[in-house]
């Protein structure tokens, strides 16, 4: 996720673009950049770091520029540095573009363009677009954009300016959001309305495969197959106050609702249907090296540790590789036994978790292969591992991790499929997994549409002082995660336990004052879960069940039921954790807690 702004109009654009970009910083903050049109030349300035922390940059901007584009980046391809920051330019430095999204076929396009003499400066996927435009430009930018779009596979929201048409700004989208702001003798372009509302409330939302041509006094929208499209002009109902939260009251809620998109980004460009496997670019391990791995060690802290637990189930069931899970903090100090046939997978959203970073170093020292699963590109763990898989979930601001967790689960599933196929998983089984993964964003959307049900449930639960979360198999780590979410942000004591362990102790806690959240989605052990829950019911405990849609096996036992759509059992955690995230959120709000900044907690734990 990145933020884009663009302007063409009668005013000097430097201040407008700078303020606009600051409004979009929540979309990415590892680097920033601007290109201004000055006369018929382009002036570009870009740097690694946060735009909000860049001092006095306005002084470096040209005074007499009336059109330009700006970008705040969340790295996906290429580490966050000055060169990889947007905008990117063509060889002649006549065309500049800002991009939000991922170009899946950039590798082959880059090779093709290099053969045709184009010189690349960055490691990004984005730069191919600038060179493609240069390749196709023959006096008509609109036609060049169309030709380039036909070549591109993946998602993009683009802002394009050029020295050839100094006061004209172009936008194009496929998959990534882009909105046009209509002013009086001025036009705006942005990834979302937040950057525009201080200037205009009249906006047009672009749809996929649409292109907009903006001059100070006109806008024209066309699509790949139509020369002109009439679009409705919307009036934005809110002002600039709720800016970066995109209309949500908290980052956490916004991030919960972003999960359909973040899940999509986690598998975008990584599915290989033809060979029924997955492609993970940053793995840096040959097929024979992958086959030589005899054991997998998964490391993490907090929510990432829960993801690691699900990973163990995945690797053992799908790929039949013995797997173990450790807290990073424990692993590093217990002189772990490792060999070169071990793969250590370090999981951290920020990539800066001090304990996990130290554990990675320890694993490397002992000769094991290490691999990072991180969200932040170029983070310490990602660099230390030297190989890994990024989540591409976009920045996660809320301290309680939500979208990064589901992306971690998805990336672990992709890895497990990759190993499984090498170890003889039938094509058919892999195709089932790939197709079910492809459907996850739609299914997550379906779960989120029922958020009101969880909000109502929270109203009847928020005064309780203790909660139990139970699940079995893949859902046991989700029980832990549900309990952790509640603890983190609402300060209610909650415990997650395997359902069958109830009778070995915790059931003594159960009475009418202890609600139990049961993860009871369809699986081969649902009957066992039911028996465990019956024991709670017999002790007057209140049962809140997360079940599979159209399955009524838990009807008699449940006081409240929330259903998630059917999916293979190994993907079910990705859907069933969403209602638990919502429950924790709504309970915390009702209790008046500071959801995004819970007491005593930090987003990135960079101390031991």
């Amino acid at each position: 996720m990145c933020g884009i702004v663009g302007y063409t109009g009668f005013r000097s654009c430097s201040d407008i673009l700078l303020k606009g970009l600051k409004c979009l910083e929540y979309r990415g903050y590892d680097s920033w950049g601007f290109t201004f049109v000055v006369g018929k030349e382009l002036f570009t300035i870009k740097k690694a770091g946060k735009i909000s922390e860049a001092e006095n940059i306005i002084n470096k901007f040209p005074e007499e520029s009336f059109s330009g584009i700006g970008h705040t980046r969340w790295a996906t391809h290429g580490s966050p540095n000055d060169i990889n920051a947007h905008p990117h330019l063509d060889c002649k430095e006549k065309i500049a573009i800002c991009h939000n999204g991922i170009i899946e076929n950039y590798g082959e396009l880059k090779k093709w363009l290099q053969k045709r003499g184009h010189i690349f400066k960055s490691e990004t996927d984005t730069e191919v677009i600038a060179h493609l435009l240069e390749e196709f430009y023959q006096g008509d930018m609109l036609s060049a954009i169309k030709k380039a779009m036909l070549k591109l596979v993946g998602a993009f929201g683009l802002a394009i300016i050029s020295g050839y048409e100094p006061d004209t700004l172009y936008g194009a989208r496929r998959g990534s959001p882009l909105v046009v702001g209509i002013g009086d003798r001025e036009m705006f372009l942005s990834s979302d309305v937040n950057a525009l509302v201080t200037h205009t409330r009249k906006v047009v939302y672009l749809d996929d495969d649409e292109i907009v041509k903006l001059t100070p006094t006109s806008f024209k929208i066309c699509s790949l197959d139509k020369d002109k499209k009439e679009k409705k002009i919307h009036t934005v109902p809110f002002d600039a106050t709720s800016i970066e939260k995109g209309g949500f009251s908290h980052f956490m809620l916004k991030e919960i609702f972003e999960q359909p998109e973040s899940l999509h980004n986690a598998f975008r460009g990584r599915m290989d249907y033809e060979r029924a496997t997955v492609k993970l670019g940053g793995l840096e391990l040959t097929e024979s090296e992958l086959l030589s791995i005899k054991r997998i060690k998964l490391l993490g802290c907090g929510t990432s540790w829960h993801a690691a637990l699900v990973g163990k189930y995945l690797f053992e069931e799908l790929a039949r590789i013995p797997s173990e899970v450790d807290y990073s903090s424990e692993f590093r100090y217990r002189d772990p036994i490792l060999s070169e046939d071990d793969l250590v997978i370090a999981i951290s959203q920020s990539g800066e978790t001090a304990d996990t970073l130290a554990a990675v170093r320890e694993a490397k020292r002992k000769g094991a292969k290490v691999l990072g699963i991180c969200n932040v590109v170029g983070s310490s763990i990602a660099r230390e591992c030297g190989r890994g898989v990024y989540l591409h979930a976009g920045p996660e601001i809320g301290v309680a991790s939500t979208k990064a967790f589901t992306s971690q689960l998805l990336v672990l599933t992709l890895l497990a499929i990759l190993f499984a196929r090498l170890k003889g998983m039938p094509r058919r089984d892999a195709l089932i997994a790939l197709n079910a993964i492809e459907a996850l964003p739609s299914l997550a959307e379906r779960v989120l549409k029922k958020a009101k049900k969880i909000e109502d449930l929270a109203n009847s639960l928020y005064t309780y002082k203790n909660f139990l979360y139970v699940g079995r198999g893949y859902q046991y780590p989700i029980a832990l995660e549900g309990a952790l979410k509640l603890k983190e942000i609402s300060y209610i004591h909650a415990e997650g336990i395997p359902a069958a362990e109830l009778k070995h102790g915790p059931i003594a806690l159960v009475d009418e004052n202890m609600p139990t959240v049961v993860l009871a989605t369809e699986s081969h052990i649902l009957d066992k879960v039911k028996s465990n829950v019956a024991e709670i019911k017999a002790r007057k405990g209140r049962i809140i069940s997360i079940v599979t849609e159209a399955n009524h096996e838990m009807d008699d036992l449940s006081d409240f039921k929330f259903s998630v759509p059917p999916t293979p059992h190994y993907l079910a955690p990705i859907l069933s954790v969403i209602p638990l995230q919502l429950l924790a959120y709504y309970v915390a709000v009702l209790r008046g807690c500071d959801v995004d900044k819970p007491r005593n907690l930090a987003k990135s734990v960079t101390v031991e």
């Binding site: 249907y273 739609s442 959307e445 059917p566």
Partner: protein
């Protein structure tokens, strides 16, 4: 309302059956899915794998999308008339629904849905449908997940389908229904105690044949003297059949003319089975048959299961195929067949010889076979063989057999 029959991501995995045909064109229970839906008076559009489009368009009309009330049917749904009627009844309520099984959509109905079939491919269709508003149906419907399930569902639903299909035919004796120009020798013995017998137009049944229902014999077939065809047999058009056939499906233009047993099997198109070819459909232990499918042993839940033979394959005289074996497309078999056979192989393992069967030779043989049946070989036929040859390259490498190529 318009029907869209779609191949999902797994339709191509019913190898070798769907290597050369769309899943909705698989014959079973006296019909195929496309024909069954067409019988209900519905316009059909379909989504199939790219390389099959030309071949499909020759046999199946693909209507342009005109309606916004759409019923999606998975091409791997076995053609069961009663279930389809139930689904059609549900659509009358005008409420959107989805029926899923094993994470695959079987039916999806939307009273108003705008789609552009050109923009939707097989991969994105499932997620597109799941994006809509709908409720899930609780009932579990059948879906062909593995090739051997064609034989399983054929047995289960055969008789109830014939109940519907018989309406198009004339009853000449109790439970025996025939089309036009059918010739049944007076000595033929027909047993309809357990199910109907339907014999379609222009088919000849020779002397002393024994037919035991439920069976369906398609158009222009020749059933030779003393043939025995028993229970849940679907013989497609232009087939020549002799010997003993039980609970099996034979696709169009195939010959099993001579003595020998074929039981609980699926035989593709343009297959020729030499005299004395026999198939085992029961293990000596009387236990459950397991098949090796994509290098994994899959229990079938079936005590009786013969073999699956892909299109254009041939068996030499006295070939014996062991229980639950899968034979690919265009392979020639000799002697004892104790393992699965990849596509495009000369398979004489019992004589120590397994070689690749060259594509050019298969194309030549196809031409000769077509000429005998007055069918013109076109570029579409040749291209399909080429595509299948390329698609099955991995099979030949990964089959575990030491092929001397």
């Amino acid at each position: 309302m318009q029907v869209i029959i779609f191949e999902d991501h797994l339709a191509g995995e019913l190898r070798p059956v769907t290597l050369t045909r769309s899943a909705f064109g698989i014959s079973l229970c006296g019909t195929n899915l496309y024909e069954l839906v067409r019988r209900k008076g519905l316009k059909i559009s379909y989504i199939v794998r790219e390389y099959l489009k030309d071949m499909c368009s020759q046999d199946f009309l693909n209507f342009p999308l005109e309606d916004e009330s759409l019923l999606f049917i998975n091409a791997c749904f076995p053609p069961v008339s009663s279930i389809l009627d139930k689904i059609l009844k549900l659509t009358e309520e005008k409420k959107p629904f989805v029926a899923q099984r094993d994470s695959r959509i079987i039916f999806a109905f939307f009273p108003t849905l705008k789609i552009d079939l050109k923009k939707l491919d097989r991969k994105s269709l499932t997620s597109f449908l799941l994006e809509q508003d709908y409720s899930f149906l609780e009932e579990k419907f059948p879906l062909i997940n593995y090739p051997f399930e064609i034989i399983k569902y054929n047995q289960i639903y055969f008789q109830e389908n014939l109940e519907e299909l018989k309406k198009d035919f004339k009853e000449i004796s109790e439970g025996v229904f025939v089309g036009k120009n059918v010739e049944i020798h007076p000595t033929v013995c027909m047993d309809t105690e357990d199910g109907y017998i339907i014999v379609d137009d222009n088919t000849k049944i020779g002397p002393f044949a024994y037919l035991k229902g439920p069976i369906y014999i398609g158009k222009n077939c020749k059933i030779i003297e003393r043939t025995s065809i028993k229970e849940a047999c679907h013989i497609s058009h232009h087939c020549k059949v002799g010997g003993e056939v039980e609970c099996s499906i034979i696709e169009p233009y195939s010959n099993k003319q001579h003595h020998g047993f074929l039981g609980h099997s699926w035989v593709g198109s343009w297959v020729n089975m030499g005299a004395g070819t026999s198939i085992s459909n029961l293990k000596n232990t009387y236990g459950e048959v397991a098949v090796i499918y994509q290098d994994k042993k899959i229990p079938t839940g079936m005590q009786f299961l013969g073999c699956i033979i892909g299109d254009y394959s041939k068996t030499a005289i006295n070939t014996s195929i062991f229980t639950g074996k899968i034979i690919g497309v265009a392979s020639y078999l000799y002697g004892f067949i104790t393992t699965n056979v990849p596509s495009f192989c000369n398979y004489a393992r019992s004589f120590g010889q397994i070689t690749e069967h060259h594509l050019s030779s298969v194309v030549k043989t196809q031409k000769r076979m077509f000429e005998r049946r007055n069918v013109t070989q076109t570029q579409i036929h040749i291209k399909l063989l080429e595509d299948v040859y390329n698609l099955t390259k991995d099979e030949r490498i990964m089959s575990g057999e030491s092929l001397s190529l």
